[in-house]
Symmetry: C2
Subunit: 304 residues, 2 copies
């Protein structure tokens, strides 16, 4: 048995934004319609090396593949891979040695899709809180869905915010480190915060997308934001468990059954345009979808 190991260069050539957007959108809708299998993730911790490893698995009904993803972070360095398995035989089909990039892209695509869906079409300025990879990617992927004329940045460290602005400028986007002052209508949070971010950043927001709450103890959004908001979650149970939706429920600001599925909103073109929040914690179904898209595309275009 030979098991192909597909490296990042080949993955990047196959996994165009169009491929990723399509796979993630379909997976989120399938998940909202209970057409996915996503067991609870596993977590291994390595405190001696400032490390942890998340294992996520998923299958979208009808897909020829399912996927098991290993994503590790040791001393702030991400790593991992995705194993893709034939869903009709159980035989491993390929290892995607993606260095964590498919996770970055599916997170960016999920955020951009729901941000675009819930932000009024005329809005072309966006604020992003946080200065890491997702701060850059969330806005760049959103700019593939609608024109973005200006980015307002905020980070705890001014030097990191300045560097992020430079990165946006290099991509042709006007960017300024003024998210607290700007009061943008659309705000995206991408931090590892354990205490709510400054409330003033959200004072004019009609839509907020949060992608930072990936485990218990994380907290990005002031719970007051959830009052009277339309709340979209990528996975109800997971967002209740460790998303900011759960933080707001435990604070008594919103009912535990008040959320709707991100996938329901993506499938529905007659969406409500009220004040809205998307709470994204990341689901194995989107990992499975992008990994399956890469493998399916590769096997359809190469002779083994």
């Amino acid at each position: 048995m030979t098991l192909p190991v597909i490296g990042l260069a080949e993955i990047t050539a196959i996994a165009t934004p169009e491929v990723i957007f399509t796979a993630v959108r379909e997976a989120l809708i399938a998940h909202a319609e209970a057409r996915t299998a996503v067991p609870p993730p596993m977590l291994l911790e390595f405190p001696d090396h400032a490390g942890d490893c998340h294992v996520k698995a998923g299958h979208v009904a009808g897909s020829p593949y399912f996927a098991v993803k290993i994503a590790s972070t040791f001393a702030s360095v991400n790593n991992g891979l995705i194993l893709v398995v034939d869903a009709t035989t159980g035989v491993p089909a390929a290892v995607l040695s993606d260095e964590g990039m498919l996770t970055s892209w599916r997170t960016a695509a999920a955020g951009a899709l729901i941000t675009h869906a819930l932000t009024p079409p005329e809005v072309d300025e966006v604020a992003v809180l946080g200065t890491g990879e997702q701060a850059l990617l969330q806005v760049l992927w959103l700019s593939k869905l609608r024109p973005i004329t200006r980015v307002h940045v905020w980070g705890r460290r001014p030097d990191a915010a300045a560097r992020l602005c430079q990165a946006f400028e290099a991509e042709g986007l006007d960017a300024r480190p003024d998210a607290l002052e700007a009061g943008a209508l659309c705000v995206i949070t991408t931090t590892a915060a354990r205490n709510p971010l400054p409330a003033e950043a959200f004072r004019n927001a009609v839509h907020v997308t949060g992608v930072g709450t990936d485990m218990p103890g994380k907290h990005e959004l002031p719970v007051e934001l959830f009052e009277n908001a339309l709340v979209a979650t990528d996975d109800h149970a997971q967002c209740l468990h460790h998303g900011d939706f759960g933080n707001a429920v435990r604070a008594g600001v919103i009912d535990a059954d008040a959320d709707v599925s991100v996938g329901t909103i993506l499938a529905d073109t007659n969406r409500a345009l009220s004040h809205s929040i998307a709470d994204l914690t990341g689901i194995g179904a989107t990992d499975a979808a992008v990994a399956s898209a890469v493998v399916g595309n590769r096997f359809s275009t190469t002779v083994e």
Copy 2:
């Protein structure tokens, strides 16, 4: 980044019974002493293809590697692989494309170790219930630890029992399809039974090892066997959840805290020689141990 995929031929050359016995014994003892990290396993089901996939992960404290195992069974055909990851950096170290054999061997080794430890030394006959791969391996691996002069076999299908006897004969072991009549002192159960096996097979048993209960709904051992028995479990919570120990606890035959760890018994040379039962459900720590042993051994003897 190149990720070595180590195939079954190379794994077989490295993973001698001595390597496997050592790794499994150390992992079971470490697990009994709370020196392992083993998150709850994940299960994906594919009813349209008579398939399921178990994902297990584990780390033995101090080991340079941790492991994530994907084990699938579709239409009774096993498959899978083990991913081995550097436990100090999170970087994937190797994929063991073992076609499920390391799981077979670690299951055989764990069973043989505890069967040998809890069966009086003079016993040289054994009964095995079930006719699959583990029926053969449990006895063959036990025969590496003590002389076995005769094997008593039972299976629901007489033709399968006859074939298993032939397989034992081919390995130089006298075997007969008479486990129900023989009343052996040592009985090993290796079935996928959902209802208890015939009680007469256990009527003279001083030790029973059960390895078949790998998920809720499985049931091999008559619950009465657990009365006044020394019960050894490979993982207390897992055996309580879906092992025959749990079945006996729910039947009110034994207390939920009456078991001891397999690893405690393996570490203790002054063991009790009463009527005993070993309930093995399989733990990720042993997967991690054997996978780490293979990778560690390979990297120490080859130049990359």
